[in-house]
């Protein structure tokens, strides 16, 4: 190999591992998902082209509508919480006080722990005789069956998601807060603005683009929720699949020996499109605000 060809080839040698993995395990599966979505493929049979039949079936599948409703509900409830709460926590640990490092690390702990572990702990806390209920009993309230009621399970899973993401988004906000000029706060304080007012007039505008980023990230993540609900409500998503989310439906219908790969792929495609749409919507909302 002459020096010249070596030079021309070397960037590609550097890129090879990365490109190969991404092509083989992201782009190729994506294309084959699109292709499978229009076939009646099963786990062990390749399937034939059926056009839009999978999508038509979806429209008449009550499980699909339940799952879609749950996934969207998840976004509506979880996203505002993940945009605001981590910001407040970040403000708490922003100042370079002594010992604040410990708190930062502690608040990050739920992010580090596996969702399975976290869910097991929560199941245990929310149990009829668990920590939360024994606390409720102390104040004289009757036991609440958190995991026995379809609506409550979903709510608990949402709380779990917000709780687990708190530390992660806190870090993103910390990085943004570090760049807010201190003078702005001082000037506002001189003008007689209290902490709440300073938060609204100085902090929020300064980190607004970060809030949009967090909104976009968390809305896509919330829409794709799987583990939390799977673990709290059980593999079938509670009685009659009432708590099922879209990704759970994909997992349930697409795997196993008789898995309906075609139908699951069609569902996957719907997930992809809605996730993309959510991201575009959030980013669009940001641009609009900027131009106004």
């Amino acid at each position: 190999m002459s020096v010249r060809t070596h030079r021309a080839a070397s960037p590609w040698l550097f890129l090879l591992p990365g490109l190969a993995v991404v092509a083989a395990f992201v782009l190729y599966p994506f294309l084959s998902t699109v292709q499978h979505a229009f076939t009646d493929a099963r786990t062990l049979t390749p399937g034939v082209w059926v056009g839009l039949r999978n999508f038509q079936e979806m429209l008449h599948d009550p499980q699909f509508w339940t799952a879609l409703r749950n996934s969207l509900l998840y976004v509506v409830v979880v996203v505002p919480c993940t945009v605001l709460l981590p910001l407040l926590v970040a403000l708490l640990v922003e100042k370079p006080l002594k010992g604040v490092v410990f708190f930062r690390a502690a608040f990050y702990t739920p992010v580090v722990a596996s969702v399975v572990v976290v869910a097991l702990i929560w199941v245990w806390m929310l149990d009829d005789r668990g920590l939360l209920n024994s606390m409720l009993e102390m104040v004289g309230a009757g036991p609440v069956s958190f995991l026995g009621d379809a609506g409550l399970v979903l709510l608990c899973a949402m709380a779990l998601t917000v709780w687990k993401g708190l530390g992660y988004y806190m870090i993103i906000y910390l990085a943004a807060l570090a760049q807010v000029p201190r003078e702005l706060h001082e000037a506002a304080a001189v003008d007689g603005a209290g902490p709440v007012r300073r938060f609204v007039t100085v902090t929020v505008p300064a980190v607004r683009s970060t809030m949009v980023l967090v909104g976009a990230l968390s809305s896509v993540a919330a829409f794709k929720v799987f583990s939390e609900v799977y673990l709290l409500a059980g593999p079938t998503g509670g009685p009659a699949g009432e708590d099922s989310t879209l990704v759970m439906l994909v997992q349930r219908s697409g795997t196993g020996l008789s898995g309906r790969v075609g139908y699951a792929s069609a569902l996957s495609l719907v997930i992809f499109c809605i996730a993309l749409l959510l991201m575009l919507l959030v980013l669009r909302a940001d641009r609009k605000e900027k131009t106004e």
Partner: protein, 261 residues
Amino acid sequence: MLVVLAISIGPFLWQLSTSLKGPAENIYPSPPSFVPHDPTLANYAEVARIIPVWDYALNSLKVAAANVLTNCVGASLAGYALARLRFRGRTAAGLVFVAALLVPLESIIIAQFTTMRDLGLNNTLVAVVLPGSVGALNVLLMRNAFRALPYEVEEAAVVDGANVWQRFRRIALPSVKGTLAVVAIFAFMGAWDDFLWPLIVLSDPDHFTLTVGLNFLHGTFADKPRVVAAGTVIAVAPLIVMFACLQRYFFRGVGEGAVKG
């Protein structure tokens, strides 16, 4: 601040305390008590008797270590090429990684599963590692880190006759250690904590990773909360210890990346 602290690590402490409580002790006291009266390690022995928890932990460790290695190597190589080398198709190559970032993994998981089956890798640990072995996000993180380096140093090396590989190894790579550490930590955590993909691709209990194994434990032995608690502590303790040791580096690295980004 203390309230947030209680909320964020309280559940973990409670789980630890439950796992240490002896069989005679009421684990549903009212008011709840955190300190076990009769501390015992028997529950840990019990969990190891019911499921091969150490084998599962070893599987998880293998997967996580492999993931760290492949991500650090793959992402820094690709990131370096994208940031510092000029060649035809660079923009296109960069776009491939951005595009990959847009595809939610959850929406291609069935196709990944069939791809693995076609490769004959289903139900192996290799299959657990491969899809995430070079994360697109990590490539872009490394690209940003390399981009922030001044060009002058490398130019001097070119004059001295250093080739691409030497410049990468000796000059560029040592300067982005912070970002590399973040990539390594994220890769480790991602692999250790992942649940959906191993759940789908693994069917043989011998190959279970810790998360899948624990879910099994939970499903079958839900009536033995002390044992389940011990299992969760085994799963979470290594990560918390690792994170506690590396957190200074981690927070600094994240800050760096964000400022440069």
